[in-house]
Structures are given as C-alpha cells and as structure tokens.
Symmetry: C2
Subunit: 127 residues, 2 copies
C-alpha cells in the first residue's frame, strides 16, 4: 500500500512539513474511532423528523397539552388517515412519540427526545 491517499498526504505535508504513510493512516484511524465512539445513534430519529408529515405530527403532539388521538391529528395534516397511522408508527419506532391505548382510541404523546430536538432547532433558528 505504498503511496496511498496522495492528496491527504500532501495536505499533511503542507501542514506539518513532512509526513509518512503511517502518519496519514494513524490520523485517519483516530478520527474514525472518535466518530464511531460517538455512535451513529439517532439517525432514524433525524430521518423521522426530516419528513414533512412526521415533522408536522410531532409539532402537533408537542404543541398539545395532553396527548392526542388519531382522529384529532388526521384533520390537521393533509394526507390520508392511513398515512397518518404509518407516520405515527414511524415516530414511535424512532422514539419520538409514545402510544397509549384506551378503549377504541389510541392516544399519542411526544417524548422528551422529540421535545428536545425541536427545542434545539427552534432556539437556533431565532438566533
């Protein structure tokens, strides 16, 4: 594997003055480890909130004082009731909402994770 990653090598040379292949690979390995340690957790939470319908549902759940049932959410998003159900299931899977059964109704509520994530973008957006 002689002379691998030429660009990166040149960049390190430009920065530090000199650089051998081992230096290159070591720097990469360090970063790789750091990023992996941080984990890739939460990708699905982000993906869930990155869709308009699910985002709006989460906003609604967050804005509501108590919890809401599907028949309350349905009129507020302009997709079919089936789509609402799908979206809510995704939110629960992503840890952004919780479900409670009561008779024939299912009540949804936003989780702390959802609240905190929304708070971050709201706060940062105003800045």
């Amino acid at each position: 594997m002689t002379e691998s990653r030429p660009r990166l090598r040149r960049r390190i040379e430009a920065e530090v003055g000199e650089c051998c292949d081992a230096d290159v690979e070591q720097r990469l390995a360090e970063l790789d480890e750091l990023a992996d340690a941080a984990g890739d957790g939460g990708v699905d939470a982000f993906a869930a909130l990155g869709n308009d319908t699910r985002h709006r549902l989460t906003r609604l759940l967050s804005a509501a004082e108590g919890d809401l049932c599907v028949c309350e959410l349905d009129p507020l998003v302009d997709v079919s009731e089936s789509a609402v159900s799908h979206a809510l299931a995704d939110l629960v899977d992503a840890g952004l909402a919780s479900r409670r059964k009561e008779g024939n109704w299912r009540y949804y509520r936003s989780t702390d994770l959802a609240e905190d994530l929304l708070a971050v973008v709201d706060q940062e957006g105003d800045a």
Copy 2:
C-alpha cells in the same frame, strides 16, 4: 358542512359529554395555530442528519478538533469523492456545517446547530 368530522366529534362527546360542530373546529384551529407558530423550521436540518453519509460526515466534523478538508473526510466514508462533496454542500445548506477556503483546500467545520442536535440524541440514547 353539517356533521363534519364525525369521529372527532364522537371523541369530544365521549370526553366532555356534549359537543357541537363549532367546538370541534375551534379545537382544531387552536392546535393548528399552535403548531404553525412553532414553525416547521429545521425540517431540512433533520433531513440532512437523517442520511447515513451526511450523518457520518457530521459526526466526523464534530469529533475533529479543528476543521477538516475533503481529502480527510473522503477516506472515512465509503462513497465517491463527488458524493462527499454533494453531501457537504447539503450540510452547509442545512446550516450544519460551514465552509472555509484556503488555497486549494476547503475546510469544513460543524456548526453549533449540528453539535447541539447530536448532543441531544447522544444524551437521550444513553438514558
């Protein structure tokens, strides 16, 4: 529009005892307003972090002490360099990374928004 939203009406009747159409629509309007006031801001930020490549790049930028150039990031994600460039552009557009030009290199750095969002899911994930 007599007798609209029958399910919702029944639900409110079950809860409060009685309910007229106006009550139904008013409750919906309130929620709608609340959710809209909160805004739909940040959807693109969430969407950006919801993709594996972009998420990983953000993690790398966040894990790095200073800022990183493309030639450092490229070896750490297994997509083409072009895809890395696309992804980084998306991150900048979403406000999750900033770009700095220096000679022939472009250095990327994660923004506060990115840091805060990642912090939330990391913290919540450990709980």
